[in-house]
């Protein structure tokens, strides 16, 4: 049933893209409405600010429209859109060097927590803590850690989304882990 839904969405996407390229604006609006919540969920990793989130999702769809002729239809439209979204989010990190704010949940609490304890803490607090922790790292490190360890993507997929080579992803991940370790240790000492 789910597979059938996915297939029908793929077909619908392709039909709407063809209609859009033929000049039907309403078709693109349908595409935006169909994918915007998934893209918003993705962009929520890149910002915790509502207005920034709207801006990033908006920018993703505008860039997708501008490059729609380059979509070859070999992979699902969603994958192509995700690649654009990742690059828009990464640019956002690069442009806006967010200052790391102190997490509302202390990292020491997290370090001592068992697997079941994670359920007890508010998921929003956990997301804030994760975001502020990664915000202490340079954008490249944030991106590679997000793709590999938070979204649990394989190296090949991470490379595709980031527009890097697989070797670069591995090297970047190694460096990012070292920096992350240093940040966690530093924060633990402070708290």
């Amino acid at each position: 049933m789910i597979a059938r839904n996915v297939d029908s969405q793929k077909i619908q996407d392709l039909q709407d893209i063809q209609a859009c390229l033929a000049g039907d604006g309403a078709a693109y609006e349908a595409i935006v409405r169909r994918h915007q919540s998934a893209i918003a969920r993705r962009m929520w990793r890149f910002t915790r600010d509502r207005s920034d989130l709207e801006e990033l999702v908006h920018e993703t769809f505008v860039q997708a429209y501008m490059g729609l002729r380059n979509f070859r239809g070999e992979a699902p439209f969603e994958h192509w859109l995700n690649r654009i979204a990742t690059r828009v989010g990464y640019s956002h990190w690069k442009v806006r060097s967010e200052r790391a704010s102190h997490p509302t949940v202390s990292l020491a609490d997290w370090d001592g927590a068992g697997p079941d304890d994670t359920q007890k803490v508010d998921s929003r607090d956990a997301a804030e803590a994760l975001h502020s922790l990664l915000a202490a790292l340079p954008p490249r490190d944030r991106l590679v850690l997000t793709l590999l360890y938070i979204e649990e993507r394989p190296v090949s997929e991470a490379a595709d989304l980031a527009g890097w080579t697989e070797t670069m992803v591995k090297v970047q991940a190694f460096r990012a882990r070292k920096k992350l370790k240093a940040v966690i240790e530093h924060r633990e000492k402070k708290s």
Partner: protein, 85 residues
């Protein structure tokens, strides 16, 4: 706990965290509609500018050839050229 386990644990706890509901369809369509005429305008501007540039080149070449034909010095030298051989 190592650093990766640590962020995985945070990420697992943050799983239920979802973004606020947003709707960008209208703003995207607005920007696209604005961008489309701009691209067309740019195309026509470029086409117009290149036509004007081509016309100017043709005019300059015509002027040069006309001034060459009516230049008295040119006729003197062309006279020499006829005598010289």
């Amino acid at each position: 706990m190592n650093e990766i386990e640590f962020i995985r644990k945070l990420s697992a706890a943050a799983k239920a965290d979802s973004p606020p509901p947003i709707d960008v369809a209208a703003s995207v369509m607005r920007e696209i509609c604005l961008a489309r005429p701009q691209r067309e305008t740019l195309f026509w501007l470029l086409a117009g500018a290149s036509s004007i540039a081509a016309a100017a080149v043709v005019a300059v070449m015509a002027l040069v050839s006309w001034s060459g034909a009516t230049d008295p010095m040119n006729s003197i030298f062309s006279g020499f050229a006829m005598v010289m051989p």
